[in-house]
Each structure stands twice: as C-alpha cells, then as structure tokens.
Symmetry: C2
Subunit: 345 residues, 2 copies
Amino acid sequence: MSRPTIRDVARHAGVSLKTVSRVINGEASVRDDTRERVQRAIDELDYAPDQAARNLRGATSHALGLVYDNPNPYYVISVQNGVLAACRDQDFGLQIHPCDSNAPDLADELRELVGHARLAGLVLAPPMSERMELIRYLAEHGIRFVRIISAAEDPADGYPCVYVDDRDAAYDITEHLIQLGHQRIGFLWGGAEHRSSPERFKGYESALKDYGIPLDKKLVIPGDYSFDDGFRGARRLFALREPPTAIFGSNDEIAAGVLAAAKANGIDVPYELSIAGFEDSPFSRQSWPALTTAKQATEDIARHAALRLIAELKPAGSGVIHLNRGFSPQLVIRDSTARVRTTAP
Amino acid sequence: MSRPTIRDVARHAGVSLKTVSRVINGEASVRDDTRERVQRAIDELDYAPDQAARNLRGATSHALGLVYDNPNPYYVISVQNGVLAACRDQDFGLQIHPCDSNAPDLADELRELVGHARLAGLVLAPPMSERMELIRYLAEHGIRFVRIISAAEDPADGYPCVYVDDRDAAYDITEHLIQLGHQRIGFLWGGAEHRSSPERFKGYESALKDYGIPLDKKLVIPGDYSFDDGFRGARRLFALREPPTAIFGSNDEIAAGVLAAAKANGIDVPYELSIAGFEDSPFSRQSWPALTTAKQATEDIARHAALRLIAELKPAGSGVIHLNRGFSPQLVIRDSTARVRTTAP
DNA sequence: GGTGCGCTTGACAACGTTGTCAACTTGCAC
DNA sequence: GTGCAAGTTGACAACGTTGTCAAGCGCACC
C-alpha cells in the first residue's frame, strides 16, 4: 500500500540499507554487480527516496530555494521553469521565494528560509543577486548560492554566478537602429536597482560612439522597467524640439509603453518612429507592430545556474573547478523598426 | 551557532519536548500558564520548527503542492502568490508543479509527487481541477486536494473547491456591449479543455437572449486562449458579409490578438470596432487602447483555496463543515469599447 | 476514604534516510 | 604463506519532530 522504503529495497536486493543508500547517491565504492542488483531492486519496487527524510539526516539536503523580486511574470516563470527542470533532473525539491528586494531585513529573511526549509542553497535572481552586501552576508553565514547577474564579463569576485551580457546585446540593438539610418535614437532607462540597466545603457552608448554619433543627453530618460515609464518617457521625447526617429526601451514593457504613447500621439510606427525593446517577452510578439527586441534564453540560463549550484554542492573536495558561464541575448528583428524616412510620405 | 531545536525550547521553558510540540501545533490540552511559558521560550530563542523533521514524522505533513498547466504567466504568478501567502501564513511549505495536462500518466505523476515530497495536499488549478476522472483517482488514492474551477454555482459533488462565476461576468461584459448599442457581437472561444470556455460562452448567450438578440452562429468562432487564435478569429469575423461591430474575446490574450488584427486591417478601435477581453491581465491595461475586461481576484481566490485545504487537513473530526466558496469577476470598462457608430464618420 | 474521570504532562519509540566507523574481502608484493 | 593496503560492505546512531501510551494530579461522587 504505502511507498517502499530503502529498507524494502535492501531486503529485495539482499544487501544492507547503507549499500542501497550508496547506490542512490552515486557513491564510488560499490562493486558493479552489487550496484546492478540494487538498481534492479529499485526499479522493480519503483522506489524513490523520501525527500523529507533525506533532508533531515544529511549535512547535504536535497532542496533549493529560488529567490526573486521581479514584476515581470514572463521572466519569473521562465526562471522558475529553468530551475525546476534542473531540480527535477537532479531529484531536488524547490521552494520558491518571491520577496521584496528593498525589505530591510531581507538577509535575515533568507537565512531563516534556508534554515526553516533546510535548503541546500539559493538561486538568486536580479536584483538580489547584485547586492554585494547581501552576497557577502550569505557567504559569511555559510549559505551556498548562485547568482544570475548582468555583466559583460565574468566578475571573478569569488562568488559563483551565471552572467548575461546585456551590454553586448544592447550594442547590437543600437547598431541595428543606426544601420537603418537613425541618428537621433532615444534611450529609456530601466530600474536603477538592476545592474542590467547601466549595462544596457553602456551598450547603447558604445554603439553610438563606434559609429561617431554624439550622445545627446536630452535623448536619454531615466525611469523604471515599466509600461508607464515607457509611456511617460516617450511623451517627453516627442515634446523635444528635435525628437528622435527611433527609441530604444530598456525592456519590452517600456517599449510597449512607447508604442502606446506613439499611438496616442498619432505617430506611425515604424514609418515615423522605430521602437526597439529588450527581453523577447511574449507580448513583444503580440503587440502591433511586433517589437524588435533581444532574446534572452532565460530558462536555459536559470537551468544552468541551478545545475551549477547543485554540482558545487556535491562532494566538497572533488577537485572539480566550476566556471562562471556567460550568455548573450540575440537580436530579434521584427516590425517595429524600419529604415528612417528621408522625406515626408 | 546552529538553529535551536524543540529540545532547546523545552529546556529553556522547563517542560518536556512533547509539551512544546503541543504548543506549536495548537493542541488543546495545555494549561494557559504552561502555554505562555513555552511561547515565551519560543520567542526568546527565535525558534521555528524544522519542516523536514516535521514532515517526516507526522501523519500530517506541512507542505502543499500547486499543480498547474497554464500558458498565461500572469495567471500562474497570481495563483502562486495567493497559495504562497496562505502557506506562509500557516507555516506550510509549497512545491510548485507545472505539468502537461494532456500527459497520459498525469495521475501517477501526481501520486508520485505527493509521495516523494510528502505533500499534505494539492491545490489544483484549471484545467486539471476540471478533469473528473483525475479528481476521482486522487480521491480514491487518499490524496487530499482543493480545486479552483469555473462554475456558476457550487458543484456540490462532494469534492472541495473554490469556484469562479465566469458565466455571470461574461454576461456583464456582453450586456455592457449591448447597452452601447451593439447588436452584432462576435465571440471568440477559449480552449475547450477549460471549463471556463463554455461558461463564458453561456454568459454571452444568455445576455443576448435576455436582450432579444438572436444568436448568429457565424459570429461565434472556436479557438484557444491564445493571441494567435484571437488574431485569426478576428480576421474570419472581418471577412463576413456582415461583420460584427463588437468582439468579445474569451480572455485578454485573445482580445489582444483581435486588437492586432484590427490594426493590421486598418480598423479603428473603438470607433469602428469595440473589443472586450477577460481576466484583467496587466497587458489589458497596457495595450492601446486599454481593454475593457473582467477582473478576477485570482490571488485572493488561490489564497482562499489553499487556506480551505489546510483547514480541512487539520483535525479529522473537528466537526467543522467547510463550504465551497464562489467568486465573481467584476466588469472593468476601459477604452476599447464605445457606443456603436450609427453613421460613417 | 476510595473510586473514577478528566485534564495535563512526560517518556519513549518511530519516521526514512545518511554519517561514522569498524569489519570483512580481495589482490598483490614479499 | 604472510602482511598490508585498497576496495567493499554492514551495524548502528543520529537528524528533529510527532504519535502512543501511561502516569500524575485534582476534583466530584458515592
């Protein structure tokens, strides 16, 4: 009736509990024929180890936490699915933990989370992953983690991460606009608490520089990763004496806001104004016209991060060196960007 | 260094382990002064029970599973946050479990999930919550659950649920369109595997009937809860000899597809065509024009469902009778619906 | 004063796994 | 054949909690 335990498997295979445990955990010192016998017993009984018991006993628990504070459900779901794929693959549990990145006692909250649910480690999404004081606190308290961060290169700060080269992708988007003939390109910033924001700006800046286009500060508007700030920012740009012919919104939501503002002002996209976003959210495909953007392999990135953490967790001194891996978003050209019109239609 | 255990609390309060356990679990037979003393010790030591140990020993574990298969991240995140709020409140863990509702061995998969992670029960989102054969299977195998379903009234089938009256809300939306003067109102169905689809259709149907408008089958298009089906469905409606003056998409994604199709065909919204959606997804606010829709209190609904499940889990024979609770989405009027134009502009 | 009952409390085992450590087996050099 | 190291296996305790059961206490009742 009830699920089989390791005891049943041991009896079935004619070995001790401990040997079964060794097979389950892939430990080295088990003879091949014994291992096979045990494996067969496991398969026959359809045995799966009990998470709770496993986490209770071990110095090594089998559960991760995923910490995020992101208003964008598309991003969050992608990260969840990626981490979950890794956890299922490795037979780990996952405790999701949305939080407020500005909470004053976030560090304690996370420590409590780890203790309470006996988590082996945390996957940290931005912006938590980019708070160095938090990172140091966790490290000092012996909490294992991996960060998903925005960086043009490996930060090599001794703390594990997977990094996304937003700068490079933002460069590509800006370059695409320049190659369409645009010289006045507006830039709408994302939220200051995300490192991706300055990274994306740097990409924009450096593409302009490489093509000899001076940076006009009036074309650069601060804001948040939100539709509303996109809308407002766009209206400020439209009101300029010399408005831009293209606008690069730091993410798709901002770009959607720009699109709405353009519609509201009767500006035709893309013939009077080109718009580019960032992220490849589903609605970048579902707006009209569909948005040019940069596609992040978020699910893959997250899966990688979790696998990296799990691998690092395993045997302390296996001698394996784990490297931080980088990902680059890819330019996706759709219908919201077009060659700049040279004369009135 | 390490976290305090129930043993530390017992020593601190000068009582036995078991008494502390009783206080933690809110059992009745503890004298008030003892309870207070223990509670003080708990507070002073900042003690929190260990989930893994708790789940291991008990017939009653302290973890729920959330099962969903929904392409809409806004919906999923809302459900997650609602269930999570309940779990945090009640000191439960949560294992999320996205799945494929069409997988042939889903029932086994869920049984394995419950066993593997020692879950006390499952919160089932649509469409899993609406598969009666799955529901019966779970019940037969002693797996506790609560369903979030679409229904105009309590199904009273003996299995616990929280129900959402999509029919009523769809009636309101249709009525709103009729009151704006629309007589030819297109309807785009959602996915057939979701009970909300026929429910929303029934609301549409019955509003038409109440206002004496004959149902024209050419105006009713089958499809899925997706942007693409909204786009395609709208184009089929536009091609009719007598196209509709308003279109009711079964959710916001469909409505966004309709909006895009209208733009693509140069049809002005709302002056030439009114569009309504359903769900109040953020992008219903972020499209241009913003969509008229029905607002579901998804997070609240999910929180309720989880609390209901947890309450039912507790003492077997407490004599409390738990009732299924219903929720009604509310009409939200925005800019995508307008009075029908009587003459050409 | 003894009996029985209800309320409160505690001793102890048990949940299913892994860590520790010791014992056994095998292979190989002497 | 002996000695020794490496490889393999098992007995047992332990993780932190809850379920079971029985004991202690006070009180009402005969």
